[in-house]
Subunit: 476 residues, 2 copies
């Protein structure tokens, strides 16, 4: 299944791939390939070789060679993933689509964008907004294909509550199947039920079924007005109950983001923004729409509800600059946590609305029980929370507690009717917990689909599916 990484084998493979993409697009020197061994997690596994195709035809030629010679491929876009999905395992070489970064078309009548998979989401968002269109979703559910970039991912993720997830915006894909066949699924029409839904299958496959080489995305009109409000709560329980009170009112914000006190302390220690350190929870609310009066009314409605539910203070952003400062607090979370402790294990659970208050409480109880710092933040409006377990991977005793706490958080999420991952995917980080969520029969069915599409198992080995008998998913 995997390349034997003896120098002779790598040399032969390199020669073949140079014939496809040219010498400058095949990397084997250690200093060149090392950057392709990690993503946004703590995993790191340097590949023997990285190939950078420039076109679908080159991707197909690489697949043809790899299939024939049973060489494992790990497709990779910008490496911004948060589940280890693009970290190459089992001797896999990296098929990096970074050079395939062109926006091929933006059509303002059809309201679609056709992009190569290496396009940075933020670049696409800027390009469509220049002509009054909008690409709102979180790119992270389109993991393997990328259109990646972390800033864009965070900004986009925060809008999921109103605008949904990436999968809702994928109208069509071009995919290179393991053995090199190029297929298209979907088209430019917004409605399409012709044949099996392969778009959703490949979008969520994390590179285990093929390499995505082109994506057609649905665009919407850019909302003319947006407002931001920040609400500060002494009690986390009041904040989580307020979230459901706002949603029950009929107001649909673009986003409701939670920053708990542990998270706020990390942010303030790193970038003093003015978050209160004595409040258990801060909520950020975004609203948008084409009618300014409605956006104002919704924001006022949110303020009234959260005050009634125990917010001690509500700040309405007076203008775009103040709104930007508030969202900067959200964007500062990840770098701030990285400064607090050497490592973090980031989770991505999603629970039904009813379970949001209980989930937040249980994470805090688990943190206390295992004597760990677990900052809690994320897209609480859609039940998608990112508890991050801070730790030091060199501390074996602490890592035992981290592993136990991580499993308990997953168990609670599933017990409450939720799931392991709302956005980031399973990759490597969560694969040993997959059965906890899906059960053995659903995984067996996934395996049948995997084997039917990738019979030689060359696509992104070691991902998504649990290792039989594997226990500790948090090491390589």
């Amino acid at each position: 299944m995997s390349i034997q990484t003896s120098p002779e084998n790598v040399a032969a493979l390199k020669a073949a791939l140079v014939g496809i993409v040219g010498a400058s697009n095949v990397l084997t020197d250690r200093e060149d390939v090392i950057a392709y061994g990690f993503d946004g997690t703590w995993y790191d596994n340097t590949p023997p070789l990285v190939v950078l195709p420039g076109s679908t035809a080159e991707v197909a030629a690489i697949h043809r060679y790899a299939f024939e010679h049973r060489i494992a491929l790990t497709p990779r876009a910008m490496g911004s993933g948060l589940s280890g999905g693009s970290v190459p395992l089992a001797g896999s070489i990296v098929l990096a689509v970074a050079r395939m970064n062109r926006i091929l078309a933006i059509d303002d009548v059809d309201r679609v964008a056709v992009v190569q998979p290496g396009v940075i989401t933020g670049d696409l968002q800027a390009a469509v907004e220049r002509i009054g269109l909008f690409y709102p979703p979180d790119p992270s559910s389109l993991r393997q294909s990328g259109i990646g970039g972390n800033v864009a991912e965070n900004a986009g993720g925060a809008r999921c509550l109103k605008y949904g997830v990436t999968n809702d915006y994928v109208l069509a894909l071009e995919v290179v199947l393991p053995e090199s066949t190029v297929i298209r699924c979907g088209g430019r029409s917004v409605k399409n039920v012709t044949g099996y839904n392969l778009r959703s299958l490949f979008t969520g496959a994390e590179g285990t079924l093929g390499t995505i080489t082109e994506v057609t995305l649905k665009l919407i009109g850019k909302p003319a007005h947006a407002r931001t409000a920040m609400a500060i709560f002494d009690k986390l329980d009041d904040a989580t109950e307020a979230v459901n009170a706002v949603l029950a009112s009929g107001i649909l914000p673009t986003s409701i983001e939670l920053i708990d006190d542990v998270t706020a302390r990390c942010i303030e220690a790193n970038i003093p923004i003015g978050l209160p350190l004595d409040a258990e929870a801060t909520l950020l609310f975004g609203t948008d729409g084409n009618d300014e009066r409605v956006v104002e009314a919704e924001t006022a409605g949110i303020a009234a509800i959260v005050k009634q539910r125990g917010a001690r203070e509500v700040r309405l952003a007076a203008d775009g600059a103040e709104a930007e400062r508030m969202w900067n607090a959200r964007r500062a979370i990840s770098p701030s946590l990285a400064r607090r402790r050497p490592n973090k294990l980031g989770e991505d659970i999603a629970v039904p609305r009813r379970a949001i208050p209980a989930m937040a409480r249980r994470v805090r109880e688990i943190a206390a029980k295992h004597n760990l710092e677990i900052p809690l933040f994320g897209h609480i409006g859609d039940g998608n929370l990112h508890p991050n377990i801070l730790c030091d991977r060199r501390d074996r005793a602490e890592m035992e507690r981290v592993t136990a706490a991580a499993r308990e958080i997953f168990e609670v999420a599933v017990e409450l009717g939720g799931t392991l991952s709302g956005e980031h995917g399973i990759g490597l980080l969560k694969k040993q917990f997959l059965e906890l969520d899906l059960g053995p029969d659903t995984i067996a069915l996934m395996r049948r689909i995997k084997d039917a599409i990738d019979p030689r198992g060359i696509m992104n080995p070691g991902k998504v599916f649990p290792d039989p008998g594997g226990r500790d998913a948090f090491r390589l």
Copy 2:
């Protein structure tokens, strides 16, 4: 693959199934089973036996027996499909879920409904609206699993422009796989990217991969206000151009429905509603929202745009009763066409926005060329049109022209970047045209998935996949 329908074989099968569901839920008398041989199309093929399970466990037991004895199963909900998907072929027995018609839960905090597949969509919609919630989408993309019923399908379909299609609302499914394993895909959280996206795969599989036994649907808040407007155009071209002008303005109606002059004449001949007979096109616009002033402003905006684009008259519904009369025109289409000529071949093409005017023109040209009446109507706002070719199946010469015209309409839709089916699925009606849209490689991939999940080919044989060498898809 299929049951040999000798009396002895049917008797043995009947005895086995009676052991599972009881004697009253196994039908073999001709007068009982005949109703299970057709759907909303002109296909009709009486099954040798119909079994009516009452629970998932009974469905699984039926699958276990059928798998073991290689008996083909055609799952069927309410038989309201418009592509022949639930018409049993190849000796298949019918597994009818009509008795599994309970709404299992409606949760107003989680905003989900959990239903059995035999629930009528209209019943679900009424139940959730009683508590201020809303299930907007067209049920027709959830074909095999039903929650069927034609009225609901039409009403729902008309709202797709704003609210999307059924697939966007399916949070979870319970599915009985061919060999009888019961799996669950998805949960109650609105975000979920754990494992392969099997929800979308089974939702769009038209009963060829398993039997859906439970569906968890996302609900939204019921909009407080709605308005309806009717715009009358002398020229079809002006109407289709006006559709794109409205969409470009940033207004997102719930629906934009087209009724062309041929359709209007059929309606007026059947149920005089007051549609103009000398106008080439009538458009119906629906708007909704929580802010009455915004809904009014959007409706006024639509009226201004369509007048500027050549509408000779715009009627705003003064109240709910008048709106209801306007929508009754839309609902009257299908029964009215049925009275015009003995048969109709209903298509369900969907094209990108840019192609809407060209598609409408080309349908009229094809009608003229083949000397056929092809009423054109449908959800023009999302490019989903239902050209219905009126005919008499006993007239062989006419049927030759129908077949040629149908193929040409499909070809034009694909040429314009669209697809064979926006809502109704492929079933039997469109299977011989599938390759025209998807190409052989995508169909080959679908076949690999089908064979992996249903290795004995017992699920809904003869559907979706084209018959090798088959030519005329419009006969049995």
